[in-house]
Symmetry: C2
Subunit: 277 residues, 2 copies
């Protein structure tokens, strides 16, 4: 018979843990002195304790450990629990590996460039959305080429939406695709989320479903879109430094619009894929 302190030393656990296991019924002492409440354990209970610790070390909760040890879990169920645990640990390791890459990217920025990165780049899923849109073609993907195309498209779009009796269901979205021909020209989509309605297709508007994007790197741009290049470059650098790759063009979400371009707030969404490794 061991006192709780001796048993804890032999089992390399804390006294508090043994009391907790007693309270939850996971591991009861072999006997308890009714007068003093002192707990006493048998040496053979060390095997039980080690089974508890071994299962806990696999990452099971104490409730699960208790069910497994009480044989309330069939072999098939246990197999299922182990497979689930395997998947969870896998996901955990992947998440931590990505986290490690982000920490190291920050350290590199500090040590190589001597500056503290102030970025607010975040990776997010972009939900699918139904939009009404008008399209135009710009000669290149430079702000100077894009802006003159975008502005009239949106003036037009708002009029036609109003004419169709429809309202925007969210902030405007601009997205791009390569124009056929391969001369660097770009098709510009001026879009705005709408609630699906038969009438929305009238007035020469196209109604399009934008697919969900699994993961996009997101960065907020402040001010006129004429200055978007530096923000876009910061986003590209972050993507590169963290081991991802850009996939296609970014989307631009107009979160705040006013007559003064300095007040504009735009979210840049760059779809990415993980680079091998």
């Amino acid at each position: 018979m061991f006192s709780i302190g001796e048993f804890a030393r032999h089992g390399r656990v804390s006294v508090r843990m043994l009391r907790h296991y007693d309270a939850t019924g996971l591991l009861r002492p072999a006997c308890v002195d009714p007068a003093s409440g002192y707990r006493f354990y048998q040496a053979s209970q060390l095997a039980q304790l080690n089974r508890v610790i071994a299962l806990k070390d696999l990452g099971f909760s104490l409730q699960q450990v208790q069910a497994i040890l009480a044989e309330q879990v069939s072999a098939a169920e246990l197999r299922g629990m182990l497979k689930l645990r395997r998947a969870e640990i896998h996901a955990q390791i992947e998440a931590d590996t990505a986290r490690l890459a982000r920490v190291e990217a920050r350290l590199l920025t500090i040590e190589e460039e001597g500056r503290v990165p102030t970025d607010g780049v975040v990776i997010k899923r972009v939900a699918p959305v139904r939009v009404a849109e008008l399209t135009g073609t710009a000669a290149s993907f430079e702000p100077e080429a894009i802006t003159p195309v975008i502005q009239p498209l949106y003036s037009d779009l708002w009029c036609r939406l109003a004419g169709a009796g429809a309202a925007a269901a969210g902030p405007a979205v601009v997205y791009y695709e390569d124009a056929p021909g391969g001369d660097g020209a770009v098709v510009v989509h001026a879009a705005v989320p709408v609630v699906a309605q038969a009438s929305t297709g009238a007035e020469g508007l196209s109604v399009v479903d934008l697919a969900e994007v699994d993961s996009a790197a997101v960065l907020i741009h402040h001010g006129s879109m004429d200055d978007v290049l530096s923000t876009g470059q910061a986003l590209a650098r972050w993507i590169d430094a963290n081991g991802y790759q850009s996939v296609g063009y970014p989307r631009e979400i107009t979160l705040e619009w006013s007559p003064d371009p300095d007040q504009w707030v735009t979210e840049l969404q760059q779809p990415i894929s993980a680079t091998g490794g």
Copy 2:
């Protein structure tokens, strides 16, 4: 201005999180309606929110995030925090990788041998300990060769300890080493922990400091030491299946001893090292 619900949608966070960040001062809404208590956020605050999320995603606590964003942390301190985080994530990944190996070893046992493993093998550090001991030589590492050597050693040891006026400070420890000659003979150490005293060295006893063992796989054996082989083999199989390697001979700790060998409880400690990978 966004309501809390709109801001949460754009930032892809829960309303509850925004309220929590307000309560802790991490991110206060741009203004609050004094009558209703409604919170309102500006689009430009999305950049702040993203900075919070980006730092949180590195694994920092909200307190740390708050300190970093309030610029209460110098560049050098931030560098130290990042290095610490890097080390912590590293350790986490290693622990999870070992966990994954243990889960997969269990799955293999279930699927290949069709049995649910009932093992209680645990990896532990073994603390250094000062022992008084007597040694003998056995022809081999079989129980039949060891037992006849051990028994008289311990009879002798208890007498001499008593003669020296010393008492055991813990359960008896048996450990082994290869005898010189390479003929398979083994030096058997019959040892017992003692509190250091000048007198303990009398009576022909050696006082020896057993070094700490960084990691040992531990398994409880029940019953006579004549049957220790199967328990030892179970321990060896576990070590192999979980990607470790045995280093030298096991130690045997007598946790429970009585005239009836069926009541004996012994802990086998097998020092191990991680196999490459």
